[in-house]
Symmetry: C2
Subunit: 168 residues, 2 copies
DNA sequence: ATAAACTTTCAAAAATTCTTGGAAGTTTAT
DNA sequence: ATAAACTTCCAAGAATTTTTGAAAGTTTAT
């Protein structure tokens, strides 16, 4: 395969995969396209390359920027906005994890915490079981939160090396 | 709040949260209901409690079983099937991670691996960049895979304690 | 062999999410 | 102040996913 075929297949495949990760096909495609592009691209170029509407591309670019996966750039004498991807894989991972934590973990954490705090005294086995499960869930979520904080602060290369050492 | 209110709120809230985790509202509700239930429940009881159709409950129970989050049980002199949840939070986490890895990570890993293997020699800067990104992505995915293998094999309580020690 | 009890299937309907494209809004140059 | 270049918004339409419910299938008891 030549490099252009590789590029197109990656972009298409990433789009398909995206839908099983809870992000839209076009968001995954736009991200893939910019990841593989060494240089910044304009909305026009992205629309053209992926055959997507202006509105869609605009929306998706803003969302990727809010995830810190993309940066805006301008060029002197050109009033268009250009977009360039964060290319450091470790940074990409950190930002995706941060975002998913914010959207997927924290609301669950909050829900469990509140319900646990409101659970009045209860005595029969079924009631004790419910309080037990909420308690277990709560401490599990808190542990995972602590863990994720630590991992996100870890140095790029230190993580795997250390864990390997630890567990081998 | 009394315990019944807690139970209902947890089940409803978990259903809502589920939709932001890529699982259907009813799957999350059924799982939440059985998590909080000390004892096994029949399809009928679940339908009744959650006001869901028989077909939906049946489908969702089978999927939860395929994730190893639920077990089937039978009772002597009763031909219905009953369902009981895995109640160990660590086990639940292990099984969800295993399933998501299978569905979300492995296909991406395969895609990148194949494209990287097929990338013919290329010389200009843009082409080199594409090969570099695919290579980076590939090694990152492999490292995360190694890491997840290790974590999934870790003992329930060893993990956090060790990581804390490591990083403090 | 039949009927009752229970489970599974699946096509259609409902709900949700994604995409489009035109209109409105903004900024910059003259 | 106006026009041109560009960005953002948003309501309608398209696509996808989820849910329903009735029919078909299976198992067990007699």
């Amino acid at each position: 395969m030549n490099i252009e075929e590789i590029r197109q297949q990656f972009v298409q495949a990433w789009g398909v995969l995206g839908t099983s990760w809870g992000i839209s096909r076009s968001m995954a495609q736009v991200h893939a396209l910019l990841l593989l592009s060494k240089n910044e691209m304009s909305t026009e170029e992205i629309m053209e390359d992926l055959k997507l509407s202006r509105g869609n591309v605009n929306m998706v670019l803003r969302e990727l920027i809010s995830w810190n996966l993309l940066y805006k750039q301008t060029k002197p004498g050109d009033r268009k906005e250009y977009f360039i991807a964060e290319h450091d894989i470790w940074q990409i991972a950190v930002r995706i994890i941060t975002e998913r934590k914010k959207r997927e973990i924290m609301p669950a954490r909050q829900t469990v915490k509140v319900l646990l705090a409101n659970a009045s005294d209860a005595n029969d086995a079924e009631q004790k079981h419910i309080k037990q499960m909420l308690g277990d869930l709560n401490s599990f979520i808190e542990q995972m939160d602590t863990l994720s904080e630590l991992l996100l602060k870890a140095e790029k290369n230190a993580l795997l090396k250390n864990v390997l050492k630890l567990m081998s």
